[in-house]
């Protein structure tokens, strides 16, 4: 009787509980409030402005007052940051025209104000299935624009962090956006991927990918696999505070966007193909990487998982 689509969001009326709340369950606004220093968040184009998607009505869908993304500025450990948080509950957090343009505008503002008085970092709280099919072209293009803008922000010397741990994960263009950021923070529930398991199953058959085998889904796309192979930089336990602490720690250690970084990434990704290119399951990768008890890694508790020494190369500046 469980249905992931019906998973309930926590409605947190008590703001002081926020830092200890589960990232996975929290609404986008609660994640923002709990992540930043208390009462420092200022929203841009707030919900009262009702800047909503004009494209959903023709699909017989109601919209959201913020089109599923909250953008604004605030302070993190006293430092200025810009922040965008997707609402994974609304249409799977997918990128549409308005949604995408809000994130794009935020990134451009960060780029244009980079410097002494500008933001110290941009935080992207991704929770998305990718493109919103009802406005697929606008969503796809927005993703490309956002990728370009992230790289411009990085080029201007401002780190961009991806924080992923929501129910929708970071799929499709959201997965590509994640990997364009300077640093990536994930929690246990995160899935970072391009093609969703259901889509692979529909196109290639259940033998290729049984999307109902949820343990397999997480071994292929999940946080532990990404973290152990260098697809994510930090693996945190699930509270909002855990994400906050990791973000604070990572901002000073963001790799620059330059040729040396990309050459290192080229080598890193080529090495991965050479080492693990014939693997079909994460347990095979973990075995090859010399980790002990690879078949248990997906099941152990977070503390035990964090005690594992990551394979060589998984901790890197090549992003």
């Amino acid at each position: 009787m469980t249905n992931p689509a019906q998973t309930q969001a926590a409605n947190l009326s008590n703001q002081s509980q926020l830092p200890d709340a589960d990232w996975y369950e929290a609404y986008a606004r609660d994640r923002v409030a709990g992540l930043l220093d208390p009462d420092t968040f200022v929203e841009f184009i707030g919900p009262e402005q009702r800047v909503m998607s004009p494209h959903l009505a023709q699909f017989d869908l109601t919209g959201a007052f913020d089109d599923g993304v909250v953008v604004g500025r605030g302070r993190l450990d006293g430092q200025k940051v810009f922040i965008a948080a997707q609402q994974g509950w609304f249409l799977g957090g997918a990128f549409g025209e308005v949604h995408g343009a809000k994130v794009l505008g935020l990134l451009r503002a960060a780029r244009d104000s980079a410097g002494k008085d500008g933001p110290r970092a941009v935080l992207l709280l991704l929770d998305t299935g990718g493109v919103r099919l009802q406005e697929a072209n606008a969503g796809e293009l927005a993703i490309s624009e956002i990728i370009g803008a992230i790289l411009e922000v990085r080029n201007a010397g401002v780190p961009v962090l991806a924080l992923v741990g929501g129910r929708a994960g970071a799929f499709g263009g959201g997965g590509i956006i994640t990997a364009c950021c300077s640093r990536i923070i994930v929690s246990k529930h995160a899935r970072v991927s391009v093609t969703g398991p259901e889509v692979i199953e529909t196109n290639k058959g259940v033998e290729e990918f049984d999307s109902k085998d949820r343990a397999l889904v997480w071994r292929v796309c999940g946080a532990r696999t990404r973290y152990l192979t260098g697809g994510a930089d930090r693996y945190v336990k699930g509270t909002i505070k855990d994400f906050r602490e990791a973000a604070i720690a990572l901002i000073p250690h963001a790799p620059p966007f330059e040729l040396a970084t990309l050459k290192a990434e080229q080598k890193r990704l080529a090495d991965r193909l050479q080492q693990f290119g014939d693997c079909r399951d994460a347990t095979e990768i973990w075995r090859k990487a010399g980790l002990s008890e690879p078949e248990r890694i997906a099941d152990i508790a977070d503390d035990a998982f964090l005690a594992i020494a990551r394979p060589k190369g998984a901790d890197h500046d090549a992003r």
């Binding site: 969001a9 409605n11 009326s13 919900p47 959201a64 007052f65």
Partner: protein, 103 residues
């Protein structure tokens, strides 16, 4: 999809001084409610956009009872609904009214 308004009279002005609040989310079986303190003290209004048609009568009953119980004078509620059940609608309306009680 269906859109409509339900107006009501309130016995008194809603407590607190907060000007706006938002709660819930437009998802399957859920709804988001945006509340704004923009009306005269004795008036209240709920604007509904719902994905599910044919339940207007129940919506009106739910909202009128909410007006009676909470007396949210001066408040305008705007709803984006993803097919929530009446109990969830009542809960979200009450939650949003409670948020406005903050000073």
């Amino acid at each position: 999809m269906e859109q409509f308004q339900v107006r009501g009279a309130a016995k008194e002005r809603a407590r607190g001084s907060r000007l706006e609040a938002i709660t819930g989310v437009n998802a399957s079986g859920n709804l988001e409610v945006l509340v704004e303190r923009v009306l005269p003290d004795r008036e209240c209004l709920v604007e509904v956009a719902t994905a599910v048609t044919g339940f207007r009568e129940i919506w009106e009953a739910v909202i009128q009872e909410f007006f009676e119980r909470s007396s949210p004078g001066g408040l305008r509620f705007s709803i984006n609904d993803g097919g929530a059940r009446p109990d969830t609608v009542t809960l979200r309306l009450m939650q949003s009214a409670r948020l406005m009680e903050a000073e």
